[in-house]
């Protein structure tokens, strides 16, 4: 291989890795976009909801015998899919019991729309989930293993006999599922009656009441969907990423950056925000040492926010 061929292959490989990781980051961000971007609820426990999604998928896989039933290839994906409704219910209950006290109609007229209370409450929930998980699950790394994670598709060679891109099958599949999930959610939010009522409740809770919408229920539904989506992303990530009870901390910041990059209130924007972060993270390894990956992400984040404060898809319309 010649020097340019090596460079090109390195670049294409990083680009492919960025797109695949970016799709999963995108799904995570979309989950937070439901809660923070659309409903404007600050949730610092989002990363820990993702961690729970990972553990629930793991225990469904090994504990409930899904692995034996469906085999090692399909089993993990069945477990991840089954974990989603569990986390939907979890999100629903957490909102009903705790978060509802600091969101929705109750805080609509308050200064900061209840953000101060949300900040403290969700930080508290995050701590309880992290420490509780450490007690229950231990602190050693676990992963949702699938043989697909150690197999790859080869694309190429593009340049004579050289320059091929290898796509990890596990990551490829996870990215595909992520994109499908986002498209499904996007259709629900933009086209369905439910989606419209959620956006209306976020836009103007008081006027929504005058339309006959149960605003508290709308907030609860959005919260549950957001929790479920991020947990689904966690499960998909876990097929390639060993995890532990504190894994949420690494990702909650990425999620917030993705939502802000994409533009508050936009589902597709959050996806592109997450995608951007994945791409920057992977492409930066070409020129920077890996320890600086996260630094590169936030330097790019700052640059984009300076140039385009409303994010890629941000709306310029003021909220009431």
């Amino acid at each position: 291989m010649t020097e340019p061929q090596i460079l090109l292959e390195g670049f294409l490989q990083a680009l492919a890795a960025g797109l695949l990781v970016g799709a999963i980051y995108g799904l995570m961000c979309v989950g937070l976009a439901m809660i923070f971007g659309i409903m404007r609820v600050i949730n610092f426990a989002q990363g820990d909801f993702m961690m729970l999604g990972m553990y629930v998928a793991f225990f469904i896989l090994v504990g409930l015998g899904v692995n034996n039933l469906f085999g090692a290839t399909i089993g993990p994906y069945v477990a991840i899919l089954l974990a989603a409704p569990v986390l939907l219910l979890f999100g629903y209950l957490i909102h009903r019991l705790l978060i509802s006290r600091v969101t929705g109609a109750r805080t609509a007229g308050l200064e900061g729309e209840g953000h101060y209370a949300q900040l403290i409450l969700t930080l508290g929930i995050a701590l309880v989930l992290q420490n509780g998980s450490q007690v229950l699950f231990g602190s050693q790394l676990v992963s949702i293993r699938t043989p697909l994670s150690s197999a790859a598709w080869e694309i190429g060679p593009f340049w004579g006999d050289f320059v091929s891109v290898f796509i990890n099958k596990g990551r490829g599949l996870a990215a595909l599922f992520s994109v499908l999930a986002i498209l499904g959610l996007w259709l629900v939010i933009t086209r369905s009656r439910l989606g419209r009522s959620l956006r209306a409740a976020a836009d103007n809770p008081e006027a929504s009441t005058y339309m006959g919408i149960d605003v508290d229920r709308a907030y609860r539904t959005a919260f549950a969907i957001g929790t479920c989506i991020t947990a689904l992303a966690g499960g998909l990530l876990a097929t390639n990423y060993p995890f532990h009870p504190f894994v949420g901390l690494e990702f909650v910041i990425i999620m917030y950056a993705g939502v802000v990059l994409g533009g508050m209130g936009s589902i597709l924007g959050a996806f592109w925000g997450g995608m951007t972060i994945g791409l920057v993270q992977q492409l930066s390894t070409l020129v920077l040492p890996t320890q600086l990956q996260n630094t590169a992400i936030f330097v790019c984040f700052l640059l984009i926010v300076i140039l385009r404060p409303q994010g890629f898809f941000g709306r310029v319309v003021e909220r009431t």
Binding site: R196, S197, D203, A207, T209, G212, I213, V317
Partner: protein, 235 residues
């Protein structure tokens, strides 16, 4: 249709309304006029349930309204077009109207209703795809009225539809309201600071001052009343 008796309501423990009684019969156009701070908007919010009642009763179409949670009241046939328009800014004009049709009745008659709303307020058809937050004040007021009509209500409650609008725009909106009333035979309850217009179009009127009804009756008689003429009509 709507019967409010001895209503006392307000924020926390401070009452804004003291002992308010009003009545709106089916098909009537009733105006409530009065100065700033009289409690007109609070009365509407109490009817819709976003301000709690302290005592008294509200009956609507055979229901005890105070026993119905706020978000169920629109489904009984009450459309509240709130003060300051309060459109959903990030939703398109059409989506705003669709939100109006969130009630069972609104969904059933959505297609015919939309056609009628567009015929009364053609600008909404032109702007259907535009986010409501980007419209002018007058257009947003039309969105708010259209949204109220989309619920196929029995009672349309309008809170200061002329607020913040240029006089010609406000006149246009009042003309449309008269068209809508004539075509649809709707029962309308209007709160307004433009006292002359509010009484000119109404069957009955109430004058609300500092949370109490101080005058009530046939709107023509009210317009002729010396106190009303001096205080509100500048004569």
């Amino acid at each position: 249709m709507l019967n409010v008796e001895n209503l006392r309501a307000g924020y926390s423990s401070v009452p804004v309304l003291h002992d308010v009684s009003i009545e709106v019969g089916a098909g009537e156009f009733v105006s409530i006029v009065g100065p700033n701070g009289a409690g007109k908007t609070t009365l509407f919010k109490t009817l819709s349930g976003t301000v709690p009642a302290m005592s008294g009763s509200i009956r609507f179409d055979g229901h005890d309204l105070l026993a119905v949670p706020p978000h169920r009241r629109p489904h009984l046939g009450i459309a509240h077009v709130p003060e300051g328009r309060q459109v959903f800014p990030s939703l398109s004009v059409l989506e705003n109207l669709e939100m109006g049709a969130y009630t069972e009745a609104g969904r059933r008659s959505w297609k015919e209703n939309l056609k009628r709303i567009y015929s009364w307020l053609p600008v909404l058809a032109e702007r259907a795809a535009q986010p409501a937050g980007t419209l002018s004040g007058g257009e947003q007021q039309m969105v708010a009225i259209g949204r109220g009509l989309a619920s196929a209500p029995k009672l349309l409650m309008l809170d200061e539809p002329s607020m913040g609008l240029a006089p010609t725009v406000a006149d246009f909106i009042f003309d449309r309201l008269m068209d809508i009333r004539r075509d649809a035979g709707l029962t309308i309850l209007l709160v307004e600071q433009r006292v002359a217009e509010a009484l000119q179009f109404a069957d009955h009127g109430y004058v609300l001052e500092t949370g109490r009804v101080v005058l009530a009756g046939d709107s023509r008689k009210l317009s002729a009343d010396d106190r009303v003429r001096q205080a509100y009509l500048g004569m």
